[in-house]
Symmetry: C2
Subunit: 347 residues, 2 copies
C-alpha cells in the first residue's frame, strides 16, 4: 500500500520516464538492492519471486503477497472506522491476488495495537478483515496480535490459487492497454480529508472501502488472452510503468481516454488536476491489463453489464521503454507524472 | 512472538490451571472472541484454521503462519544488530512451521521503517531475513516496505509444505511428553539486557539468533508417530497448556526433568528462579511433542547425535484438563507458572 503524501496532493513528476524493472524511487531502490543479492539455495517451490504482484509457488499454483498499513502513513484514525481500517488493509492485499488473476483462499492479519485498541476496537477491525476476505470468497486463516508502543499497524498476507497467473511481463508491441473502473477517487478523498473537507460519499468509499477486482480478473481470465495484468495501487502512471519495465516495452497512453472518477468535482479543480489524481493517485485498486487488438473490445459490453463498472481502452503497447502520452500527430512525449513513493518527502 | 515483560522477569502465575483451548489471557480472549464469529462462506481450501500453529490449506498440503515483531515490545534496537532483528523475526515465524512439521518454502517480510532506517539498515535487516529463511531451505518470496512514524515493525509470513501436519490436538492419555533442547536461555538474556547486564554469549544467542527446529521436526516426523507437536514460544507452561487444551487432556510434568538452559548462571539465581525462566520464559523456539510410550526413547540417541541437542522426556499425558506438576506420591498439583501474555501489564 502506498501512503498519503504529506503535502496533500500527489506530486508532479520528478521522473520523466519510468525505465527500470520496478519503476523509480528510493523504496524501489531498496527492494532492488535487496533482491539483487542472489538466493542460495533457490527455494524448491518458487517459480516467480518478488517483483511481480505476488510470489507464485508450488508448481505455479499458489500466489501469495502481503501489504502493510500504518496509522499516520496510510490512514488516519479519525478518517476511518475500525471495520474500515481492517477492510481497507485486507482489500489492498487482496488486490495483489486480483492483479495475477488468482482466486483468493484466505488471509492472515497481523496487528500491532496501541494499548487502548486491544479490546472491542480490535474485534471490530478484525470483523472488517473477515468481511473483506469473505466478499471475495476467502476466509481468515490466522494472524498475530501484539502491542504497539506507537501507531496501529495492520499487515495482511493473502494466499490464493493461481490456475494460470498473469504476470506483468507479457505485454507486446501492438497490444492494447485497458483499465477497469474509474481512477482518482481514493486520492481525491485523501486530499479532501487532509484539508479537513468532506469528500463526496462516492469518493470517500473508494478510499475507505475499496473493492479489489477479484471477480473481474477471473472473469477476464476466462475470456481474454491477457498478456499482462497489474492492479493500480501506485497510480496508473507508476503501474503502467511496472508493466512497461517488466515487459521491455513502451506504453503510450491516450490522455483523453483516462477514466477519471466521476466523484471528483469538476470545479474548482482543473481538468489537469483531475487527470493528476487519476494518473498519480493510486489506491483505487482497479486493474490495468494488455491484450491483443480487439480481444477486450469483444467482451467489453458483457463485462460492463456483469460488473457495473467501465472497461476502458487507454492506450497501446509500442516498441521502446517507458510510459508516454500519445500526441495528436501520432508521436509520443514522456509522461511527467509519477506514482507516489514512500520516503520521497522525508528529509 | 511474545514480548519481553516490562518488569524484566517473567511473571509468576495468576493462572493456576490452563483450561481453555488457546490458554488464558486477554490476548487469547481477543482471538477467541474474533474466531467465534462464524466464517461465511467457509473458504474452499481451508482444512485447519486459526488456533493451531499454522493454518493448513489446499488439501492439507500448505501450511501458512505469520509473526509480528515490534521494537520496544519484542526487542530493543540497542540489543540487536539489524541482521539479528531480521533473523529473529523470521526464525520466530519459521518456528510455527516446525511446530507442524512442515517443510519451509519461503517467507514474506513486511517492514514499517522509521525514516532513518530506510537505507542500509533495511538492507541489512533483510539480509537477516534471507539468511534465516535459507538456513532452513526456504527463500524470500516477497514483502512490503513502508514508513513508520513510530517503532520498527517487522511482520514475517511463512509458507511451507505440510506433507502430514502434526496438530496440537492428538495427545492421548498414556502418551509421553518430550521437549527438544534446553529452555530459558532467551528469557534470561532479555532479563539481563533489561537490567543492563551482559548475558553470557550462549544465552544472548538464544535470544538474538534463535534456530527454529525445522530439521529436527522433519526428522522426528519420519521416525516417530507424533500425536501432538507445538513450538515453545510462550514458555513450556503455556505451550503445554495449548496441547492440553486442544487435545482435551491433562499434562503432568516432572519438575526435576525440565531441561534448564546451561547458560543460566547457577548463582545468584535460585533453582526456583531458573525453573521459572525455563517454564515461563518462552522464545527458545524448542519443540514440545507427545508420542506413545517408548516411541521417542527409541530414537533419542540418534536424534541427539544428529542435531547436537538434547531430547528430554518431561512428563506424560493423563486424563483430565490442564497442566500439572507431578508429586512424589504419584499425584499432581496445578502448575503455578503461566506464559507471558501481551497486554497483561498494561493498565
Amino acid at each position: 500500500m502506498r501512503g498519503f503524501p504529506e503535502g496533500g496532493r500527489p506530486g508532479a513528476g520528478e521522473y520523466p520516464e519510468l525505465q527500470s524493472e520496478l519503476g523509480p524511487g528510493r523504496e524501489f531502490d531498496l527492494i532492488r538492492s535487496f533482491l539483487r543479492r542472489p538466493a542460495h539455495p533457490r527455494p524448491a517451490g518458487e517459480t516467480l519471486g518478488p517483483g511481480d504482484d505476488c510470489a507464485v509457488v508450488i508448481g505455479e499454483r499458489i500466489a501469495i503477497s502481503c501489504d502493510m498499513s500504518v496509522e499516520g502513513v496510510h490512514f488516519r484514525r479519525e478518517w476511518l472506522s475500525a471495520e474500515e481500517i481492517g477492510w481497507r488493509a485486507t482489500s489492498a492485499a487482496l488486490s495483489d491476488l486480483a492483479a495475477m488473476a488468482a482466486r483468493p483462499i484466505g488471509v492472515l492479519a497481523s496487528c500491532a495495537l496501541p494499548d487502548g485498541d486491544a479490546g472491542e476496537f480490535a474485534v471490530r477491525l478484525m470483523s472488517g478483515v473477515r468481511a473483506a476476505a469473505e466478499r471475495v470468497g476467502g476466509g481468515v486463516l490466522g494472524g498475530d496480535l501484539t502491542r504497539s508502543p506507537g501507531p496501529l499497524v495492520v499487515d495482511v498476507t493473502v494466499i490464493g490459487e493461481a490456475r494460470s497467473p498473469v504476470r506483468r511481463s507479457g505485454a507486446r508491441a501492438g497490444d492494447e492497454v485497458w483499465v477497469t473502473g474509474a481512477l482518482g477517487g481514493s486520492a481525491y478523498a485523501v486530499a479532501a480529508l487532509l484539508e479537513n473537507r468532506r469528500p463526496l460519499p462516492e469518493a470517500r468509499v473508494r478510499f475507505a472501502r475499496p473493492a479489489p477486482r477479484t471477480g473481474e480478473a477471473l472473469w477476464l481470465l476466462d475470456r481474454v488472452a491477457l498478456t499482462s495484468l497489474i492492479d493500480i495501487s501506485d497510480g496508473l502512471a507508476g503501474d503502467a510503468g511496472h508493466i512497461a519495465a517488466a515487459s521491455g516495452v513502451a506504453i503510450v497512453l491516450d490522455r483523453s481516454a483516462i477514466p477519471v472518477d466521476p466523484s471528483l468535482p469538476a470545479d474548482p479543480d482543473s481538468s489537469e488536476e483531475r487527470l493528476r489524481y487519476a494518473m498519480a493517485g493510486g489506491e483505487d485498486y482497479e486493474l490495468c491489463l494488455s491484450a491483443a487488438p480487439g480481444a477486450v473490445a469483444a467482451v467489453r459490453e458483457a463485462f460492463e453489464s456483469e460488473f457495473g463498472i467501465a472497461l476502458t481502452r487507454v492506450g497501446e503497447v509500442e516498441p521502446g521503454r517507458g510510459v508516454f502520452w500519445g500526441t495528436s500527430d501520432g508521436g509520443r512525449v514522456p509522461l511527467a507524472i509519477s506514482g507516489f513513493q514512500h520516503f520521497r518527502e522525508s528529509h
